[in-house]
């Protein structure tokens, strides 16, 4: 098990979480508070550039220069452990730290630009951060604290059929750092087990992309939604009630477009979509509107979760 911190954490704000599923941020804070994780959010931290980066608009120097600024802010407030709610923020930031440490030419070029333009306070020095020791996803923190989850569980969700969708940019980009590995991703299955539930485990297309493909969803929707349908059909074959996510972009693809893909496939899809932090927060008794952020969901959470029964102590 790799080293995972539970303090000095900058909870890295995500554009997609902020504007599409703000309940993911509220749920993460709710669960972190229950588990005693020491974190803060900074208004100075800005977007990782990921959506623009993977649409080929931002090049690496742009993304890594923005990264260097965010890394400096994290260090300046004494929170050098960046923890991401979005798989793309995670992949983008980890790659920038790797490149800034390994590629002297890139680091020196960005630092020279900062020096020449009155931004010397943002300079990044080699090994200011370490990719495996300072850059994490929320699931890493939760997994390291998994033994403490059980005692906070209020509701029994074990009657639901639950499956997990592990985002590609958590599992596949920096696979050497992925808890549970990349071949049979299961870190979320393990976390759900700590809530007293059993997932269906492996299913057809479990490793597959959500189909967003960044530009594909908007510029090439046939390709995008055909890929999503592979997985959505596999989920329906298993009669899944709740699909659990760790990335807001995957979450959008499944939750926002489930009705459209249902029409395209001529098949009724009924799963609801929760981020892992929302799932655990719900099991811990988080309010649907004040913590989970149910109003932001397209497939209503209460279309599946109708009654919550308390666990027998």
């Amino acid at each position: 098990m790799k080293y995972v911190p539970d303090k000095d954490i900058l909870l890295f704000r995500s554009c997609l979480v902020s504007v599409e599923y703000p309940g993911v941020e509220a749920s993460t804070k709710f669960v972190f508070d229950k588990l005693g994780v020491d974190y803060a959010i900074s208004e100075k931290q800005t977007c990782c550039t990921g959506l623009g980066h993977y649409s080929d608009v931002f090049n690496q120097i742009d993304t890594s220069a923005i990264g260097a600024r965010n890394f400096r802010i994290a260090r300046d407030i004494g929170r050098p452990n960046l923890v991401m709610m979005c798989a793309t923020c995670y992949a983008i930031n980890k790659k920038s730290v790797k490149l800034l440490n390994r590629k002297d030419e890139l680091r020196n070029h960005i630092n020279e630009l900062f020096d020449e333009n009155g931004l010397s306070h943002l300079k990044y020095e080699k090994d200011d951060l370490k990719p495996s020791e300072n850059i994490f996803h929320v699931v890493d923190i939760l997994y390291a604290k998994r033994d403490e989850i059980g005692k906070h569980i209020k509701y029994d969700l074990s009657d639901y059929t639950i499956a997990t969708h592990h985002g590609c940019h958590y599992c596949k980009v920096h696979y050497e750092d992925t808890i549970g590995g990349v071949r049979d991703p299961n870190v979320m299955d393990e976390l759900i087990k700590e809530c007293g539930c059993t997932t269906i485990g492996w299913y057809d297309h479990k490793r597959a992309t959500c189909g967003t493909g960044f530009r594909q969803r908007y510029s090439n929707p046939d390709l995008s939604f055909t890929a999503t349908a592979d997985k959505m059909n596999a989920i329906a074959d298993e009669d899944v009630d709740i699909l659990v996510h760790l990335c807001p972009n995957c979450h959008i693809q499944f939750d926002r477009y489930q009705y459209l893909i249902s029409e395209r496939e001529g098949r009724s899809f009924r799963a609801i979509h929760l981020n892992i932090a929302q799932f655990i927060a719900l099991a811990m008794g988080g309010d649907l509107d004040k913590v989970i952020g149910a109003k932001a969901h397209t497939v209503p959470i209460d279309s599946v979760v109708k009654d919550l029964k308390e666990v027998k102590k």
């Binding site: 902020s18 504007v19 703000p22 309940g23 941020e25 959010i41 208004e43 100075k44 800005t46 977007c47 990782c48 550039t49 623009g52 993977y54 649409s55 080929d56 608009v57 931002f58 090049n59 690496q60 120097i61 742009d62 220069a65 923005i66 600024r69 490149l99 590629k103 030419e105 630009l113 333009n117 931004l119 590609c168 599992c171 596949k172 980009v173 990349v182 597959a208 992309t209 189909g211 967003t212 493909g213 960044f214 594909q216 908007y218 510029s219 090439n220 390709l223 055909t226 890929a227 592979d230 926002r256 477009y257 009705y259 509107d289 004040k290 913590v291 952020g293 109003k295 932001a296 397209t298």
Partner: protein
């Protein structure tokens, strides 16, 4: 018929250009490709389109520069499945991204980027990477209730007691705008926008 021995034409220069690109994190991975096809066999774009990651590396190793003009490059999902399974330690996903940046540097693919310039605009105005407004009509058509939800976003965020607010302070936006100006990003965006708008 003569058989062209391409190795004599130094085709490796193209691969070396990719290896030396700042975005490459796989060292000399591209040269280690054995054309096993694991990438193509696991690729969602290959499953559903003409995209062929194995062939991309074959053409790079052949020194075939015309690949940067191949439209199928733009079908990659950037899911990194090829990157995660390659037994030789190569990453077609990264090579694809590098090829596209080479294309853009040469003025190719501006039409593919034009709709996504909204990501740049939102960074300069709000330091966030919001979904470009140009797609809102499609989203509103395809996602029931989405527009209504977005109209109530502030209320929902308020009920969740999220703090700090969505928009970063003015000095933060100015600082990141300055960074994206000195890296050459702003000039590139304006070049793409004016070229595309002149061609319409």
């Amino acid at each position: 018929m003569s058989i062209q021995q391409k190795i004599n034409d130094s085709p490796i220069e193209f691969a070396v250009q990719i290896i030396n690109d700042v975005k490459n994190s796989k060292d000399e991975g591209v040269l280690k490709c054995v054309q096993c096809g694991m990438c193509t066999s696991t690729c969602p774009a290959a499953r559903h389109s003409d995209y062929n990651p194995r062939e991309i590396i074959e053409r790079v190793l052949d020194g075939d520069l015309s690949i940067i003009e191949d439209d199928s490059l733009w079908d990659c999902f950037y899911c990194y499945t090829c990157h995660s399974v390659c037994p030789a330690g190569n990453s077609v996903c990264e090579v694809n991204q590098i090829l596209k940046q080479i294309a853009v540097y040469k003025g190719i693919g501006y039409d593919k980027l034009y709709e996504y310039l909204g990501f740049a605009d939102s960074y300069f105005t709000a330091a966030i990477g919001a979904i470009p407004e140009i797609f809102f009509t499609d989203i509103d058509r395809d996602v029931p209730g989405w527009w209504d939800f977005r109209q109530h976003l502030d209320e929902i965020r308020s009920e969740l007691e999220l703090d700090p607010p969505l928009m970063p302070p003015k000095d933060v936006i100015e600082e990141v705008s300055k960074i994206l100006t000195i890296t050459g990003f702003k000039d590139k965006i304006e070049r793409i926008r004016s070229a595309e708008e002149e061609s319409k």
